[in-house]
């Protein structure tokens, strides 16, 4: 239960919006629900629906619309590489291809250790620093700019270590 788990955050989120429009809190609450597992469970949707006095279908319909919400368990970190036009003009597609080769997975797949899911996404507003990707994980969303495959592999090693330690 979100309210029990993050009472302070939930209260803070609800305080942002007029009480008669508490439905507005659905997006921040979904981020909160996604924080730990990297995806939103059915129970969490139920929970949010109840908190905001809307239907579970309403909540699910929002999860389905926005690409940063996920309803399935995938890698602990989602590595989202921009391959949109401006980045593609600066070698992003090649970068992604090489990364796939190095990781031994295809776009959309997860590394066998469950650490990284590799995705291609649309423009991240970092077109001048291509190749660029963001990681979406337990610690939020972070940008990684002017990347090379080597630097990326180092980052993955570091993530591996830190999650290993966390365990």
């Amino acid at each position: 239960m979100l309210l029990q788990k993050y009472p302070k955050e939930v209260k803070q989120i609800l305080a942002k919006y007029p009480p008669e429009h508490k439905r507005s809190a659905v997006m921040p609450l979904l981020y909160l629900a996604q924080r730990e597992e990297g995806y939103i469970t059915k129970a969490a949707m139920q929970d949010i629906a109840q908190l905001l006095d809307i239907s579970e279908t309403d909540v699910a319909s929002i999860v389905g619309f926005y690409t940063l919400y996920h309803d399935k368990k995938e890698g602990k970190y989602r590595m989202q590489v921009c391959t949109d036009l401006p980045c593609a003009l600066r070698g992003a597609e090649e970068f992604l291809n090489n990364l796939c080769g190095n990781l031994g997975i295809k776009v959309g797949e997860t590394t066998p250790d469950g650490l990284i899911t590799l995705e291609a996404v649309t423009c991240l507003a970092a077109c001048d620093r291509a190749p660029v990707f963001q990681t979406q994980g337990p610690d939020g969303i972070k940008y990684h700019e002017n990347m090379t495959v080597d630097k990326t592999m180092e980052l993955i090693e570091a993530l591996k270590k830190s999650t290993g330690e966390a365990k």
Partner: protein, 418 residues
Amino acid sequence: MAHVLLRHRDIPDIHKLEVYKKNGGFAAFQNAVTQMKPNEVTEVVKNSGLRGRGGAGFPTGMKWSFIDNKNWPHYVVANADESEPGTFKDREIMEHNPFQFLEGVAIASYAVGANAAYIYLRGEFWQIAAFLDEKIAEMEAAGYLGKNIFGSDYSLKIYTHLGAGAYICGEETAMLESIEGKRGQPRVRPPFPPSYGLYGKPTIVNNVETLTNVPLILANGAEWYKSMGTADSAGVKIFSLSGRVRKPGNYELPFGTTFRELIYTYGGGVQDSRKVKAIMPAGASSSLILVDDEKVLDTPMDYATVRTLGADLGSASVIVIDDTVSIDWLINKTVHFFRHESCGKCTPCREGTYWMSHLTERIHEGRATRADVDLLLNVAKQMQGKCLCALGEFSTMAVVTGIERFRQDFDKVVKSNS
């Protein structure tokens, strides 16, 4: 020349409250709240000739004057969705010059009588939102936000709201729906936000860059602002330069600067010294400017003149295309972007982007005939003027101008036997 918007490039640490204050920060807001009536603030902005930097170029002061004073409360929403491919200017402002932006939000709120303002950031700007939250808290602690600001009876709260990966939420009514906790799908307009906005209440939506201009306009006066830029496009603009240039990045320049200056003087010229083949002045939503003649590069960048090239300046996200790029590949890219981002609410956009993507794929993969190219052009035109919001329209711009202005690129890839 000193920067107006990217002042952090001149003043180190301007993201710190004391530094910002020392450099004149919040004086404009204080002056407005304590010395000016709201409509006087609007009047100054109107006289400055400031136009919206989100893409449509609508006169900002005029928009503020449309706020419906018969219906309360009012809201201000800052558009920090910045999702147009090739645009990355608002981000730099918020990351490095946050207080000037926030002061702009505050002044706009005072001008239209709003006691609450929301900043809608694209979900990817997660860290920026956290950063802004800190800055907002600092402003509250310093008494620039909250109740009885500067001893007046004016009160204001500013909140951030994160999107979650949907380009369409940059469209102002979709953004309002999204803040309301719904799917980010555009509303039918009219009614426009100044009469029916957030929670059905009068609302002013402005782009981050637009708002960041406001404090200095109030501080230095409308005439000062108008003295920069051109008659039709007053002031300065941040040009986000990307694509095949040596030094991509944000360049704050007066309106009327030429493409050549931007690309060669600031951008360091084209990669591998190739020729400029085409320019997209407004990101992926742009028409393709055909650069078949070097003279095209001498066109000054302002709203009116760019239009003479059959394109809109929009958000001034200049993507440079050189002669290594084939336009059939390019439109396949843009169409896929729009297909991915179509919200699905209206038929022409939902079905049209899907259909176009099949055709551009077929063409790009060399499976198409000339007739397929004609069909693509026809489908794109069939979408034009019929969609519920501008996204559908945007998706056709590169397609139509690409085929009409670069037909030879398509002729090269279609099957020869037809």
